[in-house]
Symmetry: C2
Subunit: 351 residues, 2 copies
C-alpha cells in the first residue's frame, strides 16, 4: 500500500476537497503511475454529484490520466519505469469473454471496472480516479503515449477522443463522406478533427449564429444553424453520418431527416430516453440507423493515440490547478470551456 | 387504353366493390400483364381506409401481383408473351439517381411510384394495383417468377418476403447468428424461414403461450414469451439481430436488452413514433443499433424470388375469392390468417 493525495467529493452536494487515501500494493501485473495531468470530463461532475445514482463516496473522479511509470509488477512486460503512459475510463474487465477477446473491454460481458467509482474485481474496493498524484493499474489497461504527443493535451484523447474516434471508425467513415457533428464541446470538437482527418466533409450543427466563427475555426467545412428550418431543409437527405455529442434530451427527428438513405445517427452523449420519441418512419423509409457507442476498447484507444500523433491532432485544452476544480465544474455546467480542462497535477503537491 | 375490371374502395369507409377502369396504353418499355394472383397486405387496408392519410379514391389496392405477360412494348427486351411474372410494391422511380443506380429504387431520391395510390411520372394519373384482372408496368419493375415456385404462394414474396429478406441480408445475418423475430404474421413467418435458410438460430418472441406450438411449427428453434420477465431476463444480451415486424406501437426497450453488444434491432413493421421512448443507454452502453428497412429494390426482389426457389421457401397462404375481400380485411384486423391471403383472380371474372 502507498499513501496517495487526491481531491474527492465526500457527498453529492459537497465541493471537492483534499483527500488522503491509500493506493493498493502492486500486483504482479500492475503498473504504478505518478500522475502528471488529468482531463476533466462531464462524467466526473455527474458522478461527483450522483446525477446517475450509484455514486459511492468519497468519489475521486478523473479518467483522462497521463503520467509516468514509477514501478511495475513482476509479470509486467509492456512497460518500464519512466515510460509516459495513459489511463482512460477502464482499469479492468473480465479479460476472457468474447468482448474482451475482441478488444472491446468496454462491452465486457461480465462488466468492466471503471477508473473511478468502480469496484475492484479482486479486493472489492471502490476505485479512485485521476484527481490524485498516483494510480495503480493492470498493465492491460495502460496506454503508451507516443512521443510526438504533448502529454497535457493528450489527456482528453483517453475519453473525449476515443469516444468520438471509435464510432467514426467502426461505422465506416471514409474520404468523401458527409459527416455532421452535433454539439461543439469536448467531444464535438474532437469529432470534427477526426472526421476531417478521415477525409470527410464536415458540418457542425449549432443552435446559435454566434458559434459559426468558432465552428469554422475548429475546421468545419460548413455550419448549419439547427434552429433555422430553412437551413435544415436545405441539407435534408444529404449526410452519411451524424455524430451526436449532445448530452441532454433533444429531438432527433429533424436531424434524422438530414441523413441520406443508409445514413447513421451515432449517439455518444445522450444516456437518457430519446424523448420526444423518434418516428420510426424516419428510419424505415430510408433504411437509416440510430446507433450508440461507448468510449472504446484498449486496442482502439492505443490506435487513436497513435492516430493523433500521426495526424498532429490534439485536444484544445485549458490548464487548471487542482485547487480550482470546483470553479471549473461551475464553468463546465455553463459550457464555458474551450474545450477541455486539464489539471496540472503538479498543483496538487501544494494543495 | 384497355378496359380493366377490379375491386376498389370508393371512400375511406366504403367496402371494396367491383370497379371498371382503363389501363394505360402500352408504352415502348411497358409490359402488359394478366393478373392470376394477388396477395393481400396490411398496407392495402391502411390505404383503402386512409389510415395514413393521402389516399386518393377510388383505391384499387394490391402489390403482391403474379400474372403472365400478354403484350410487351417495342423496347422491352427482358420479357415475352406468356412469361410468368411478378410486380411488387413499386412500378416506377426516377431511374437515374444514386439510389436507383444502386438498385435501391425504394429509396429513390426523387420518389418512387407505388403500385397503387402512386402518381404516374408521365401522365400524372393515380396508379391502380393488383386487385384487378390486368396491369401495365415498366419492364424494370417486373420480376421473373422462377419455374420452381408455385405462383399463388409466391405472391407474398413480393412484399412480405422482400421486406424481411432485405434487412436480414443487408445487415449481415450469417450462419450461427442468433436471430429473434418479433411478431408472427405475414412478415414474421417469412422472416423465420429466411433466417433459418441463412443458417441462423431463430427465436420467435410472442406475447401468448398459445402461440408456442405454431411458432415451433413455423421452424423456430426457440420461443420466448415476451410478457414473461423471467424468460426475457434469461435471454438478455444474447441476440445478434431482432427482426421486428410488429406494426403497432410497442416498447422496444425490453427487446433491446435482449441484444448482445453490436446487436441490431431492425424495424420493418412500425411506422409510428417509437413511444414509449427508447432509452439511449440501451444503445450507447452496448453499441447497439436500431435500423429501419423498407421492402427492397428490384435486383434484391429478383434475388429473394430466386432464393425462395433455391431453398424451397414459400409463403403460407389462404386462397381467397375477390368477392370475399371485405371479410378477409375483417379477419386480418383480428390477426386471423395464417399467414397471408392470396386472391385467386379467376374469381374476378365472375364478379
Amino acid at each position: 500500500m502507498a499513501q496517495a493525495k487526491g481531491f474527492a467529493a465526500q457527498s453529492a452536494t459537497s465541493p471537492l476537497a483534499p483527500f488522503n487515501f491509500e493506493r493498493r500494493a502492486l500486483r504482479a501485473d500492475d503498473v504504478a503511475i505518478e500522475i502528471d495531468y488529468c482531463g476533466v470530463c462531464h462524467s466526473d461532475i455527474h458522478t461527483a454529484e450522483n446525477d446517475w445514482g450509484g455514486s459511492v463516496y468519497p468519489v475521486v473522479p478523473g479518467h483522462e490520466i497521463i503520467g509516468h511509470v514509477t514501478a511495475v509488477g513482476s509479470d509486467v512486460s509492456r512497460f518500464k519505469v519512466g515510460d509516459i503512459v495513459g489511463v482512460g475510463c477502464l482499469v479492468d474487465s473480465c479479460k476472457h469473454c468474447s468482448a474482451c477477446d475482441d478488444g472491446l473491454e468496454q462491452y465486457c460481458l461480465n462488466g468492466f471496472v471503471g477508473t473511478y467509482n468502480g469496484q475492484d474485481k479482486i479486493d472489492g474496493t471502490i476505485t479512485y480516479g485521476g484527481y490524485s498524484d498516483s494510480i495503480v493499474v493492470h498493465e492491460r489497461f495502460v496506454l503508451s503515449i507516443p512521443e510526438a504527443l504533448d502529454p497535457a493535451s493528450a489527456a482528453p484523447i483517453l475519453c473525449a477522443g476515443i469516444t468520438t474516434y471509435s464510432p467514426l471508425k467502426h461505422f465506416g467513415v471514409k474520404a468523401g463522406d458527409k459527416v455532421g457533428v452535433l454539439g461543439m464541446g469536448g467531444l464535438g470538437h474532437m469529432g470534427v478533427k477526426f472526421a476531417k482527418a478521415m477525409g470527410a466533409e464536415v458540418t457542425i450543427f449549432t443552435r446559435s449564429e454566434s458559434k459559426v466563427a468558432e465552428a469554422k475555426k475548429q475546421g468545419a467545412d460548413h455550419v448549419v444553424i439547427s434552429t433555422d428550418p430553412e437551413q435544415m431543409a436545405a441539407v435534408a437527405g444529404t449526410f452519411n453520418y451524424l455524430l451526436d455529442t449532445i448530452p441532454v434530451q433533444h429531438d432527433l427527428n429533424p436531424y434524422l431527416n438530414c441523413l441520406k438513405y443508409d445514413g447513421v445517427h451515432i449517439l455518444v452523449g445522450l444516456i437518457e430516453p430519446m424523448d420526444p420519441p423518434v418516428h420510426a418512419a424516419n428510419l424505415v423509409l430510408k433504411r437509416r440507423v440510430i446507433a450508440g457507442s461507448l468510449i472504446g476498447g484498449l486496442p482502439e484507444t492505443q490506435e487513436v493515440l497513435d492516430f493523433c500523433a500521426e495526424h498532429g491532432i490534439t485536444c484544445d485544452v485549458e490548464m487548471l490547478a487542482m485547487q480550482d476544480i470546483n470553479q471549473a465544474y461551475e464553468r463546465m455546467k455553463k459550457g464555458d470551456v474551450k474545450y477541455r480542462f486539464v489539471i496540472d497535477m503538479a498543483s496538487l503537491k501544494n494543495a
